[in-house]
């Protein structure tokens, strides 16, 4: 690996005959250009040409893509949607949380008009969701839980105790035995830790 040096966005780095483009770069007319303002990295590959890439921080920020499954925490609910903070993308934690929105019609796949947000999520629930859009001007990712494997995984009852799921739409508090409505995720058995 060669020492790092700063590079500007749009700066022409080298020709495609000398190196292969990596992340943070693009090719035009046989040359490699930088697409980020950051540090230039040149990694020597054993087979073939070295790989040239541009990185901003020492670790690259993982951005949620469309179709990625993310873990998020509900911060507020409304009769039309739920606002969440995205904490993990897949199994990697994010350094800074992104904001997401789950619309009422994206909570379930069936009977979308009978959905009540209050009976699906509550503030401070941990929810598995899928990214359906990178969002609009407010930079809120648009998320969906309209699958069996998506929905609430961890929730606390009104008594403050972690609840146990009993069906796809109900969870029960182990101390008070009261049932609360949630849109529960059917977690794959290999991901459960007992």
């Amino acid at each position: 690996r060669h020492p790092l040096s700063p590079s500007l966005a749009g700066e022409r780095l080298c020709s495609t005959e000398e190196a292969t483009p990596g992340s943070g770069t693009y090719t035009r007319h046989g040359f490699i250009y930088s697409s980020l303002a950051g540090c230039l990295e040149r990694k020597s590959e054993d087979s073939g040409l070295p790989v040239v890439s541009v990185v901003r921080d020492s670790e690259s920020q993982l951005l949620p893509n469309v179709g990625a499954v993310v873990t998020c925490k509900v911060c507020s609910i409304n009769s039309r949607f739920a606002k969440v903070h995205i904490l993990y993308v897949g199994s990697t934690p994010l350094k800074s949380t992104f904001r997401g929105t789950i619309r009422k019609e994206d909570i379930r796949a069936t009977e979308k008009d009978k959905v009540e947000v209050y009976k699906s999520f509550r503030p401070s629930d941990i929810v598995l969701a899928k990214v359906i859009s990178l969002g609009d001007a407010q930079s809120n990712y648009l998320l969906s839980t309209a699958e069996n494997e998506l929905g609430v995984v961890v929730a606390r009852s009104e008594a403050g105790v972690q609840m146990v799921p009993i069906s796809w739409c109900e969870m029960q508090c182990p101390r008070t035995h009261t049932k609360e409505f949630r849109k529960v995720a059917r977690v794959q058995p290999q991901f459960l830790q007992t």
Partner: protein, 181 residues
């Protein structure tokens, strides 16, 4: 063993919205097709213009900022903003809606409201023998009174406010003095 409900009766002045409660709200804002009402809770309640008897998209109710509305809570919990309606489950208004002009709105404790709403309440019966008047009781501690003259209205307001602390004897004496006048 029969069923039945148990509850603890307590005294407080701060109102917390509860689903099904009938309250008096003050319109603070009109936002498109929703009104924002102050009901004395932590958040303003929302009221759709379609939630009145006989309201359609063409036939909108005539609600202005500052109007008084008597309605009930459709949605009221600690995680969302409360939602009010002025119709019951069958679509009839049953006494709910915009409260008319004039009259006097004042605030009392929640315990007094529950006492006044009890069937065959003595205070209301004795007052109705004094002057005829219109009365709306909101579970959020708000009372609206309207009598024939301003003076009669204010007398009724004072009696209702004082009946928080007056004994039945003191109240009968006060009313006897007033009807003697």
């Amino acid at each position: 063993a029969g069923g039945g409900a148990y509850w603890v009766d307590s005294q407080q002045k701060r109102y917390v919205p509860v689903k099904g409660d009938h309250v008096i709200g003050i319109v603070t804002a009109k936002a498109g097709d929703m009104f924002k009402l102050d009901v004395g809770g932590s958040e303003p309640a929302s009221l759709s213009y379609l939630a009145f008897e006989g309201a359609t998209k063409r036939n909108r109710p005539n609600v202005q900022v500052g109007d008084l509305i008597y309605g009930q809570f459709l949605v009221a919990n600690k995680d969302m903003e409360p939602e009010m309606v002025c119709i019951d489950s069958s679509g009839k208004s049953s006494g709910m809606g915009i409260i008319g002009q004039d009259g006097f709105l004042f605030k009392v404790s929640l315990g007094l409201i529950r006492k006044l709403l009890a069937p065959k309440c003595e205070i209301i019966q004795e007052l109705s023998q004094l002057y005829p008047f219109e009365l709306v009781l909101g579970m959020n501690g708000r009372i609206w009174v309207k009598a024939k003259t301003v003076q009669q209205t204010l007398i009724i307001v004072n009696i209702l406010e004082a009946s928080e602390y007056m004994t039945a004897e003191q109240r009968k004496q006060a009313l006897a003095k007033l009807s003697g006048n």
